[in-house]
């Protein structure tokens, strides 16, 4: 028999041990009720945020997650501080952004003015790596330039005496540019390419 008690009175330790060792446990159902009530009370109790944090950190599996989160937060914080300490870098970034965005509408408007069929005719054959039609359209010359080039081509054909080709090219040009069909340049070119009138032929015969 173990002596749990300091014997201060005669025979005290023996009697205390005797009763202590024959102590009776509460029923298991009572244990279960009390332990369940303890768990439920904790579940229903609103815990302050710092107590919930401490309880979570005391669990090993949460410690690793918290360490990872802290590392990410530290990294983000340091990067943010670097950017704040280097205003030039942010200004450079800010300056670049509008330039990029502003160029897009200009290119869009330019592309709308050009028809792909005209481009294929007026421009030299594209390089193999520039097969994309929209990309080519964005670097094409304006309509006015191509119109002038076509006129020069017709005049060159006329000068070479290739009148039939010059007429066909002119007809095609007037068809491609219906809004310019009656421009003086085209009218003059049209007249110069037409066959000589009969009066002119008569005058020539009279002179002869």
């Amino acid at each position: 028999m173990n002596n749990r008690f300091d014997s201060r009175l005669p025979g005290e330790a023996e009697l205390l041990n005797l009763y202590h060792e024959t102590a009776e446990a509460p029923p298991a159902a009572l244990d279960a009720r009390i332990l369940a009530a303890a768990r439920q009370a904790v579940a229903e109790r609103p815990q302050p945020w710092y107590q919930r944090l401490l309880a979570a950190l005391s669990q090993p599996r949460h410690s690793l997650a918290f360490a990872s989160l802290a590392a990410v937060a530290l990294t983000v914080g340091l990067l943010g501080r670097d950017l704040l300490e280097k205003p030039d870098a942010t200004r450079e970034l800010a300056a670049d952004a509008p330039a990029v965005t502003a160029s897009a509408p200009v290119m869009e408007r330019f592309a709308e003015q050009v028809e792909p069929r005209e481009l294929a005719r007026a421009l030299p054959a594209p390089a193999p790596q520039m097969k994309s039609a929209p990309a080519a359209a964005r670097v094409a010359p304006p309509n006015e330039m191509r119109f002038e080039l076509a006129l020069q081509e017709i005049r060159a054909l006329q000068a070479d005496g290739r009148l039939e080709e010059a007429r066909e090219r002119l007809a095609q040009l007037r068809e491609d540019y219906p809004q310019r069909r009656w421009q003086p340049q085209l009218e003059a070119l049209q007249r110069s390419l037409e066959p000589a009138p009969a009066a002119t032929a008569g005058e020539a015969a009279g002179q002869d």
Partner: protein
């Protein structure tokens, strides 16, 4: 790990939401508290009721804080004792634990041989019967010593009686138990 921690630390942990700490605390005191209550009121059903009320009051009341200088063990038994006295009062019974004249119960010690009555007292029923023969004040002090393992000064603080009175009650209780347990079975015992 938790088993190494003291009662106050386990209670603090439970207050922070650690239910495992409560489990350790409960396991540490369940047998002692239940035996104390059952021995004091000699009614298993009432003992269970008071036992449950005591633990539930501990669980549900955050404001019921342990006095700084009191041991958890002493505080726990004090809650249980107050609950039992309240129950007796509600039943119209005077609280015998608070009105007791020691001199009335001062009886001469018996001459039984310790080995003999220890051998004969292995029967729990007989132990229980002998315990119930004690006046309630003496029984309370004896039970607090046997199951709560409190020092005499702690029992004096808990029961709010002078330490000398506690010591006297314990001495009378020991003497009477020794005499009762040494007596042959079936022999009539006078108080």
């Amino acid at each position: 790990m938790l088993e190494q921690r003291d009662d106050a630390d386990l209670l603090r942990r439970y207050r922070r939401g650690d239910t495992e700490a409560f489990g350790v605390l409960y396991a540490r005191h369940r047998v002692g508290l239940y035996s104390f209550l059952k021995g004091l009121c000699s009614d298993a059903q009432l003992a269970e009721e008071i036992f449950q009320e005591t633990w539930l009051s501990l669980i549900r009341s955050d404001s019921q804080q342990q006095p700084e200088r009191a041991r958890f063990r002493s505080w726990l038994y004090q809650i249980a004792r107050h609950r039992l006295i309240d129950h007796w009062r509600r039943q119209g019974r005077a609280a015998p634990l608070e009105s007791f004249d020691e001199s009335v119960h001062d009886q001469p010690q018996g001459d039984g041989e310790p080995e003999a009555w220890l051998q004969a007292s292995q029967d729990r029923e007989r132990l229980e019967q002998a315990l119930q023969e004690l006046p309630e004040e003496q029984r309370e002090v004896f039970l607090l010593r046997a199951h709560a393992e409190l020092e005499l000064a702690e029992i004096a603080a808990l029961t709010q009686v002078p330490a000398e009175t506690v010591k006297s009650r314990l001495r009378y209780a020991l003497a009477k138990l020794r005499r009762l347990l040494a007596a042959p079975l079936g022999e009539e015992v006078c108080r």
